[in-house]
C-alpha cells in the first residue's frame, strides 16, 4: 500500500477527514519550503500538495499567480522541487506529498525521467492541471510504473459520461473543484457540492477531496461533513504573502491548526467557542 492509500485508510478507521494544504514550492524563498512542510505536518495536516511554479498558471487566480512569480524570481524549477521533497523525506517518511502544477515543466523533463526522479525523492502523487484524461494515457502509465498516483480534477461541469473514464485512470484520491472559476474565488455552494458528491461516488471508488473556495473554519467544517478531504490553498498562500519576507511558519501554523480543529469538531459551535 502506498502512502496516500494508507493515510486515507487510517483516517477512515478513526472516522476523521483529511486536511490537505497547498503551498507553492519556493514561495517566498526556496530556503523556507522544507521547514514550512514540516510546520504543516506539526499543525496537523495529512497530505501536502506542493505547487510547482510555472510561468503561465492559467487555472490560478491572482494569489497563486503571485506565489508562482515569487518562486520564479528564485528560478525554482521542477528539478529543484523534487530535491525539496527528498530533503523533506530525510526527516518525514509518513506524510504523503503530491506535486501539483502544469504540463510543460514535465514535458521538458520527459515523463520517464520525471517519474523515476520523483519516485526516488518520495513523491506520492502528481496532479497536472492541463493533462485531462483524454491526453494522458502514456503519462499515467509512467507514473503507475513507479507507484505514483495520478490525481485528477473533477468539476461542476464534468459530464457524467466522463466520470467512468476518470475512474479508470485515477488512483490515490480525486480532487473535486467546487466551483467554476480559478483558484482563490470565494463563492462556494454547499448544496451543489453535496449533490455532485453523491453522483461522483456512484462512479468513483476513491476518497474525494474538495477544494477551491475554502477560506475559513466554517467552510472547512461544512466540507468535512461531505467529503473525505478538505483542500485549502489560496487562503494559506495569502498568509505567506502577507508575512512578506518575515518567517511565515508561525502564521501558517496557526491558520492550519485552526482549520484542523474545525474539521475534527463534531459541530461548528464547538469550533467557535474554542476560538
Amino acid at each position: 500500500m502506498n502512502r496516500i492509500t494508507s493515510t486515507f485508510a487510517a483516517l477512515a478507521q478513526q472516522k476523521r477527514k483529511a486536511l490537505i494544504p497547498f503551498i507553492t514550492a519556493g514561495d517566498p524563498d526556496p530556503a523556507v519550503t522544507v521547514a514550512l512542510m514540516h510546520q504543516l505536518v506539526q499543525s496537523g495536516v495529512d497530505i501536502i500538495e506542493l505547487g510547482v511554479p510555472f510561468s503561465d498558471p492559467m487555472a490560478d487566480g491572482p494569489t497563486i499567480q503571485r506565489s508562482s512569480e515569487r518562486a520564479l524570481k528564485h528560478h525554482v524549477g521542477l528539478r529543484d522541487v523534487i530535491v525539496m521533497v527528498a530533503k523533506f523525506r530525510q526527516k518525514n517518511q509518513a506524510v504523503p506529498v503530491v506535486l501539483m502544477g502544469y504540463a510543460n515543466p514535465i514535458e521538458a523533463m520527459g515523463y520517464a525521467a520525471f517519474a523515476e526522479a520523483a519516485s526516488e525523492a518520495g513523491v506520492d502523487g502528481v496532479l497536472v492541471v492541463d493533462y485531462p484524461p483524454e491526453e494522458c494515457a502514456e503519462w499515467v502509465q509512467q507514473l503507475k510504473k513507479w507507484d505514483i498516483d495520478p490525481i485528477f480534477l473533477l468539476s461542476p461541469t464534468t459530464p457524467e459520461t466522463r466520470l467512468k473514464q476518470v475512474a479508470q485512470l485515477a488512483s490515490g484520491y480525486v480532487y473535486y473543484v467546487s466551483l467554476k472559476g480559478v483558484t482563490g474565488a470565494s463563492h462556494l455552494d454547499l448544496d451543489s457540492v453535496r449533490d455532485k458528491l453523491v453522483q461522483l461516488r456512484s462512479y468513483i471508488n476513491l476518497p474525494i477531496g474538495v477544494g477551491f473556495g475554502i477560506r475559513d473554519e466554517s467552510t472547512a467544517h461544512a466540507i468535512a461533513q461531505l467529503a473525505d478531504a478538505v483542500v485549502v490553498g489560496s487562503r494559506i498562500v495569502e498568509e505567506i504573502e502577507q508575512a512578506s519576507g518575515d518567517n511565515p511558519l508561525e502564521v501558517v501554523g496557526n491558520l492550519v491548526a485552526s482549520m484542523r480543529r474545525a474539521i475534527d469538531s463534531a459541530s461548528l459551535n464547538e469550533v467557535v467557542t474554542e476560538k
Binding site: M58, N104, A108, P132, E135, T157
Partner: protein, 399 residues
C-alpha cells in the same frame, strides 16, 4: 482529390494539438466542437458566412502584381494577396466574423478575446458591435501602452478593454487571463481566440475560417495567370494568416510553402519570437506545439518589433507541417522587416503591417535568386496604419 485530412477527431496533428486544459473547460470545449461541427456542414451557416465576408469585410481581396518592386528585385514576380484591404485592415476579421456567427447560434450574449497588437481585439469589438453582443478584450498592460490607438478604437466600438498585469504583461498573459474569464463565465460567454492556437477545436476552426484566403487565391491565380504560384510566403505569429493561405494548397505538392517568423534582434540574442526555428515541443495554452522555453520548461519572454508576432508559441498545425517537411520555416530580423516595409511604401504605394513586412522581407531575399518566370504569392496580412508610431520612433521621430 483531398489527401490531407488533419486534425483527427481529437484535434491532433500528428503529435501536436489536442485538448490540454483544466477539467472545468472540457465541457465547454465539447459543446463548442458539437456546434462547430454542425455549422461546418450546414449550407445555411456557410452561405451566411460568405455573405458577411462579401458585404461587410469586402471580399474577395485582390491578388496584386507588385511590378515595380519585382523589377527592382530583379528576379521572381511578387504577387500580393491584399488582406490589408479588408474592413479593419487585416485578415483577423475573417475569423472573428465566423466565430461571432457561431457564438450567436450558440446563444451566447457575451464574447471575450485576447489581443497583442490590438488587431484581433479591434476585429472582435467590431463584430460584437455588428451583432449586438457584449465584448471584453484582455490586453497586456505593456501592449496597451505600445498600441494606445487600438485601445481607443476598441473603446469607440463599445468594448471593455481589461489591462493584464500578470507575467510579462503581453499577449501570452492576455490569453491566460481570457481563459480564466472563460472558466468562470462559461455559461453565457464565447471565447474568440485570434489565431490557430488554443485547445481543439480552435486551431481547426480558425484555419477553416481563414482558409478563404487560399481558396480565393487559387481561383484568382487560375483566372489571371492560368497557373498556380511556385511559392507561398506568409508571416507566422500564431500562424492564422499563414495557414489560411497554405491550407488549400497542402495537397498541391508542387507549391512550396514558407512561413516567416520574427527573428527580432537576431536568433542568437534571445530577443526574438522565432518559435519553429529555435523552439522545442511542449504544452501551452491548451495544445502541444513548439514553444520558446528555458531548460525548466518555463515560457520565455519574446521580442519582435511587430506586436502581432510577439508570441512564444505557434499553432500546432504548423509544428506538424514543419516536422513532416511540407512547409519550411525561416526567420527575419526587425531590421530586415523594416527595410521591406519602406520598400513596399516607396515602390508600390502600399503601407504594410510590420507583421506582413516579415513575409515581404523574406520574399525580397528569395526573389533575386529565382528566374523572372517564377511567381511568389505573399500574404499581405494587414495594413500598416497601426504601426506609424513604431516606425517613426525607429527613425527618431516622435509623432
Amino acid at each position: 482529390m483531398k489527401i490531407y485530412d488533419l486534425p483527427d477527431k481529437h484535434g491532433h496533428f500528428g503529435p501536436y494539438g489536442g485538448t490540454f486544459v483544466a477539467e472545468t473547460l472540457i465541457a465547454a470545449l465539447n459543446e463548442l466542437c458539437e456546434h462547430y461541427e454542425r455549422c461546418r456542414n450546414d449550407p445555411i451557416f456557410q452561405a451566411e458566412f460568405s455573405q458577411e465576408l462579401k458585404h461587410y469585410v469586402g471580399r474577395p481581396s485582390p491578388v496584386y502584381h507588385a511590378k515595380r518592386w519585382s523589377e527592382h528585385l530583379g528576379g521572381a514576380q511578387i504577387l500580393l494577396k491584399r488582406e490589408d484591404l479588408n474592413h479593419t485592415g487585416a485578415h483577423k476579421i475573417n475569423n472573428t466574423v465566423g466565430q461571432a456567427l457561431l457564438a450567436r447560434r450558440m446563444g451566447k450574449t457575451r464574447v471575450i478575446a485576447e489581443t497583442g497588437a490590438g488587431q484581433h481585439g479591434v476585429a472582435s469589438a467590431t463584430v460584437a458591435a455588428r451583432y449586438g453582443m457584449e465584448c471584453v478584450v484582455y490586453m497586456g498592460s505593456e501592449d496597451m501602452r505600445r498600441q494606445a490607438t487600438n485601445v481607443y478604437r476598441m473603446k469607440l466600438l463599445g468594448a471593455t478593454v481589461v489591462p493584464v498585469e500578470s507575467g510579462s504583461r503581453t499577449l501570452k498573459d492576455a490569453l491566460n487571463e481570457a481563459m480564466r474569464d472563460w472558466v468562470t463565465n462559461v455559461e453565457n460567454t464565447y471565447y474568440i481566440i485570434g489565431t490557430v492556437a488554443g485547445p481543439h477545436p480552435y486551431p481547426m476552426m480558425v484555419r477553416d475560417f481563414q482558409a478563404v484566403i487560399g481558396q480565393e487565391a487559387k481561383m484568382q491565380m487560375q483566372q489571371d495567370y492560368d497557373r498556380q504560384p511556385d511559392i507561398l510566403i506568409a508571416c507566422v505569429g500564431g500562424g492564422s494568416n499563414a495557414i489560411g493561405l497554405f491550407y488549400p494548397f497542402v495537397d498541391d505538392t508542387g507549391v512550396r510553402m514558407i512561413g516567416v517568423e520574427a527573428a527580432g534582434k537576431g536568433i542568437g540574442t534571445h530577443q526574438h519570437a522565432a518559435t519553429l526555428v529555435t523552439g522545442k515541443p511542449g504544452v501551452l495554452h491548451g495544445n502541444r506545439t513548439y514553444l520558446i522555453q528555458d531548460e525548466n520548461g518555463q515560457i520565455v519572454e519574446t521580442h519582435s518589433i511587430s506586436a502581432g508576432l510577439d508570441y512564444p508559441g505557434v499553432g500546432p498545425e504548423h509544428s506538424w507541417l514543419k516536422d513532416c517537411g511540407r512547409a519550411e520555416y525561416v526567420a527575419v530580423t526587425d531590421e530586415e522587416a523594416l527595410s521591406a516595409f519602406h520598400a513596399l511604401c516607396r515602390f508600390e504605394g502600399i503601407i504594410p503591417a510590420l507583421e506582413s513586412s516579415h513575409a515581404l522581407a523574406y520574399a525580397a531575399k528569395l526573389a533575386p535568386t529565382l528566374g523572372k518566370d517564377k511567381l511568389l504569392l505573399i500574404n499581405l496580412s494587414g495594413r500598416g496604419d497601426k504601426d506609424m508610431a513604431t516606425v517613426a520612433e525607429q527613425s527618431g521621430i516622435a509623432l
